[in-house]
Subunit: 110 residues, 2 copies
DNA sequence: ATTTAATATCGTAATATTGCAATATAATAA
DNA sequence: TTATTATATTGCAATATTACGATATTAAAT
């Protein structure tokens, strides 16, 4: 007990939850924010920008990469990451679906 | 150590992460999915639909309500919850911003 | 070959989350 | 007033996450 009952939910529900979970940390939001401000793929400076130690940043980057939120590669001494539109779009479509569905009904909830 | 360094990030980054965190669980995704299938506000049957015990569902509902993802109230014996468009839109706008920002640049990342 | 620089991995401590049994609360019904 | 029904709260065990020091890896520079 205490463990998430993954097997009780649909693949889609689990996959979506995983992507959302990867996005759901201020450090990872900050990484994405930073990725958007730079014109080129990031190269090492990300550790200097964040108020976290290098291993921690590395771990967050790994998590973002594993879930497909960022893509790219480690090229020798430096990293080259940028946001993967495809995964962001999955989440946006989910939210669009919610908003569309709400719009169709006339539920009243104060 | 081990605790999220909330104070190191902006209010916006933290708030967004909190909303995303509330969405980031298969049970809570399932609750939202279910809320979209019913025409009326839910009334008690949500516990029967989910493969979780009543206290667990109650806790998930509380978390969704605390972050503003669902709104509504407990009316005597039953609950009346539905999705709060406002909060969903905050997340969608964030994602739209990401996608818009990506579109403007020409970063190449394989 | 050694050094240097950038990133990854391991190990571990602190904290957070998840799930549920037991129990409490609150409102309606009898 | 006493059931009954629906939901909330408490307490706790199991697991997951977060952060970082120490160390490893990897590639370029010297």
């Amino acid at each position: 007990m205490g463990i998430t009952k993954t097997e009780s939910f649909s693949t889609q529900q689990n996959e979506l939850a995983n992507i959302l979970k990867a996005l759901a940390h201020p450090a990872r939001v900050a990484i994405i924010d930073y990725l958007l401000t730079v014109d080129e793929c990031i190269c090492s400076d990300i550790v200097n920008v964040l108020p976290l130690a290098q291993p921690t940043v590395s771990q967050h980057l790994k998590e973002l990469k594993n879930t497909g939120i960022i893509k790219g590669s480690i090229e020798g001494k430096s990293i080259c990451y940028c946001i993967d539109e495809k995964t962001i779009k999955i989440v946006r479509e989910y939210l669009d679906g919610i908003l569309l569905s709400i719009g169709k009904t006339n539920k009243i909830c104060q």
